[in-house]
Assembly symmetry: C2
DNA sequence: TAGTGGTCTAGACCACAGC
DNA sequence: CTGTGGTCTAGACCACTAT
């Protein structure tokens, strides 16, 4: 592949050294100047290759010291959980939602703590059921911080999901989540049209915006008709 | 912040334009030459800023055409599932494992299909239970392709988890996974010391190495004592 | 003090898109 | 054809690390 850009050939070479085991993790690799001579190129080109591999967590660089092979990544599986409406649309199926509750409620102690507000301050609360081709697959119970989305109560959630609406009005700053398997309450079971003995896959997610807690959401999925699926390619090189 | 590098100031400027709404998604942004003049810098510096923002999926570039604000990211939650032993160690707890089975078996039709092998070809099969402070939290049932890890049967899995061992001998190429909530079998329930009516969080994962299916694994977690948790910071800028 | 990486310049040639 | 981005050069100055 003599037609590949030089910076890419340098990256490929370094990755090959690491994958062959020749350069173990922590190994001090050749300096920019040395690679400049090996590849008969300029320092800027070598620098780009090394900088990109550093961004990809393949290398670690220390100014004044040198460039090292990064410590081994921990083995982990990244599960990507997408917006329910998009996901259904991507499968070529029809999505619709049913609003079961939309209200303004005072925060109980637990909610107040979650939102870092005082007990009794008001929150918006909504319960929706999402359908895929008329089959209920998700119950979404959500609490919203009014100072982040003051117009939450006046939205038409048949056309825009709470998710989409909040993404637009409140730029996402960060999130925490928790994923568990539990038995549904009587209420949840009836909304999902399942038996109370049927396990549910439950995702709790809290999102932050403007340095506040924007929204807490609990998503219940019937275990027998919903799974989180996905895949991932492991490629050290990109560009 | 006049001490920040120029390329970073350019990145910050572009991100600010996007976040303020001045540049909506799909907007054609100024050319490299234009930014060169705006920031009184060289084209290489502007190029670096734009190239990095492209790698970060903030921008999209089309040679000959121009640079555009990338289409909005889909809202998604990334759940990271780590190696069980590391996770327990990170909590400061003690991990140990119990080997329930380790054998060489001929592939049934279903396994043969999964591994893209012929029915009757042999696979390694293992069942382990992982304990956190003497409490069973995961049952790991695994099938391994012998051509990827011929020495699988002779490992001491009390000291190195199957996960770790396979990561070392078979560089990860990619994976597919499926996450579901189900009721345990009688067997699984007894290994996890739970009631058969207690839901389990089950992760199925298939990994590829050397263009083959390396291993299929099913991990059962007691729903009442195990959850996948995590968080994520949303930051468009990096370097 | 010598060597490393971090950043930057002012040019250059090329492939590709749109007119 | 002109203008865009993609890549590259051969220097440069600086901050930092190790000896």
């Amino acid at each position: 592949m003599s037609q590949a850009p030089i910076f890419q050939r340098i990256k490929d070479y370094i990755i090959a050294q690491i994958e062959s085991g020749a350069w173990a993790e922590g190994t001090l690799i050749p300096t920019e100047m040395a690679l400049t001579k090996t590849f008969s190129t300029s320092r800027m080109t070598v620098n780009r290759a090394l900088r990109e591999l550093t961004a990809e967590l393949v290398l670690v660089r220390r100014q004044g010291a040198g460039t090292y092979v990064a410590p081994q990544k921990v083995q982990s599986t990244l599960v990507e959980i997408k917006n329910i409406a998009d996901e259904i649309a991507a499968r070529g199926h029809r999505h619709h939602a049913q609003l079961h509750a939309l209200e303004r409620i005072p925060a109980c102690e637990m909610l107040a703590q979650q939102f870092k507000l005082k007990v009794g301050q008001h929150l918006f609360h909504s319960i929706m059921v999402h359908f895929e081709n008329a089959v209920p697959i998700q119950v979404e119970e959500r609490w919203v911080n009014p100072s982040i989305a003051p117009d939450y109560m006046t939205q038409d959630f048949n056309h825009v999901t709470p998710n989409e609406y909040l993404m637009n009005v409140a730029p996402l700053q960060g999130m925490d989540y928790r994923l568990e398997a539990v038995l549904p309450t009587q209420n949840i079971a009836s909304m999902l049209h399942i038996e109370p003995s049927q396990p549910c896959l439950v995702l709790h997610r809290t999102t932050r915006s403007a340095n506040q807690i924007a929204t807490c959401v609990t998503m219940w999925h019937a275990g027998n008709r919903y799974q989180f699926v996905g895949g991932k390619e492991q490629s050290a090189q990109s560009s």
